[in-house]
């Protein structure tokens, strides 16, 4: 029977108290949100925190709301809630596409958006989707609140820019006129991605004014394909451009071989899924559901 190693458990009743508890217990303490990454790691003894600070009671972090020109998603919003949210579906189809293929309904009932990003697993779907969207993350620690661009947030596998005793509070994405889509290939339903790609396009007068491409599970630096984004900007949203952008994205990622496939297969998928996500986003921009 696999059980986690012993730890102290504390239930936070406010954000301030959670930060205070993290400060008091020091670097060996961790917050637990949905626990769906942390508890399996603790069972397998890949993680052995000395204290867990439970933030499930913090209703203030469990809200999806429109705040000025931004969509604000609280860190404790569950995957299932993001998936079901009409405002998310209307403005950010990339998030709805991604949520549909993250794990399974039971894991989505418990796992949180904030936990997904803070885990910074190199195969995390939301990390790629929010990176394509250029989201802003709001963190709070003993020194107060600060914002971090998501492209500065991921420092490496399982490593983020959060300081000790700092919590992710909210994810913010500007609501603007853009089209987006997410495409994933997995070995079976509910599995982590072999490769997945997200695309965000802003199009004005038939010209791409801004592009976001997120890639997961292929070692893309900070989950994005920047050179492919640069290539797309200023061009036309046509198939030729999307194919070329896919080719560039495939070149700039760094997949590794594992049980999900060899390097050349993953690179091929990275290119193909980037092209398909771009096509799907462009079709949505023209009002055709893809």
């Amino acid at each position: 029977m696999q059980v986690p190693a012993a730890f102290q458990y504390e239930r936070a009743t406010s954000l301030e108290q959670a930060i205070e508890l993290l400060t008091r217990y020091g670097p060996e303490a961790r917050v637990v949100a949905g626990g769906h990454s942390l508890l399996p790691m603790m069972k397998l003894r890949l993680a052995q925190p000395e204290a867990l600070i439970d933030i499930n009671g913090l209703g203030e972090l469990a809200m999806i709301r429109v705040d000025g020109h931004d969509l604000a998603v609280g860190a404790m919003v569950r995957h299932a809630e993001l998936l079901a949210s009409p405002v998310v579906g209307e403005h950010f189809p990339i998030l709805r596409d991604a949520e549909r293929v993250i794990a399974d309904p039971l894991v989505r009932n418990r796992g949180t958006v904030g936990g997904s990003l803070c885990q910074a697993d190199p195969s995390e779907d939301l990390s790629a989707a929010f990176s394509a969207l250029r989201a802003t993350l709001v963190a709070q620690g003993p020194g107060g609140r600060r914002t971090i661009g998501i492209r500065e947030f991921f420092l490496g596998p399982y490593e983020t820019a959060l300081n000790e005793a700092e919590l992710l509070v909210e994810i913010r994405v500007p609501i603007r006129s853009h089209a987006s889509a997410y495409r994933k290939v997995e070995r079976r339903v509910g599995d982590w991605a072999v490769v997945a790609a997200g695309a965000v396009l802003e199009i004005s007068d038939g010209v791409i004014t801004e592009a976001g491409i997120g890639l997961t599970a292929v070692g893309a630096r900070r989950f994005v394909a920047e050179q492919a984004e640069d290539f797309l900007r200023g061009g036309r949203p046509d198939d030729e451009g999307f194919t070329e952008a896919g080719r560039i994205a495939a070149q700039e990622c760094r997949p590794t071989a594992d049980q999900r496939g060899p390097v050349d297969y993953k690179r091929h998928l990275a290119g193909e899924l980037t092209t398909r996500a771009l096509r799907a986003a462009a079709a949505r921009a023209q009002g055709q559901e893809a």
């Binding site: 730890f7 458990y9 439970d54 705040d67 399974d104």
Partner: protein, 175 residues
């Protein structure tokens, strides 16, 4: 740590270690062995119970996290001597062989039918996609859930709605 958990409408108070998982709390502390346990990776779904009205994998929830909350297990499915339509469906359509995955499957099925009285085959397959059956190939499980839907199993939507009032702070606010 002392916790009080309401399971199938009854309150239980126990002293537990923080590292005790909810599945083991139910099985070993309360003797409710209907909830099964089959993996260490949160993949198989045989441990599925409801936590505050939502199906979750109880091997990936700490018992202390359920303190003050409500759990429903397969033992709470029947109404006295009368089996739930979902249970009847599994009997009528041979929805099980060894029965290992069955309690978890039935808990998800009950939840699905509470929210959608007439789910399509695709909806059913999606709902149970986080749960593994080693025996049936899923065909008969899907049939069993359809059977329940067609035999009054989806009719309890009214009390389900009362159960699933969004908790404060959970609703969507549009500015």
């Amino acid at each position: 740590m002392r916790i009080t958990v309401t399971v199938n409408g009854e309150q239980y108070t126990r002293d537990v270690e923080p590292r005790l998982l909810l599945v083991h709390f139910l099985r070993d502390e309360l003797g409710l062995t209907g909830t099964h346990w089959g993996c260490d990776t949160s993949n198989c779904g045989v441990c599925t119970v409801w936590l505050d009205g939502t199906p979750v994998k109880s091997c990936t929830v700490l018992a202390v996290m359920a303190d003050g909350h409500e759990v429903r297990t397969v033992e709470g499915l029947a109404h006295g001597a009368e089996l739930d339509p979902v249970q009847q469906g599994f009997i009528a359509c041979h929805g099980l062989q060894c029965g290992f995955c069955t309690p978890g499957m039935m808990m998800t099925a009950r939840w699905l039918l509470d929210h959608d009285a007439d789910p399509s085959e695709e909806d059913i397959r999606e709902a149970i996609s986080g749960q593994m059956c080693r025996c049936t190939g899923y065909e008969n499980i899907v049939r069993s859930i359809r059977w329940a839907a067609e035999h009054g199993g989806g009719a309890r939507t009214a009390d389900a709605d009362a159960d699933t009032e969004p908790a404060p702070g959970r609703e969507e606010v549009r500015a």
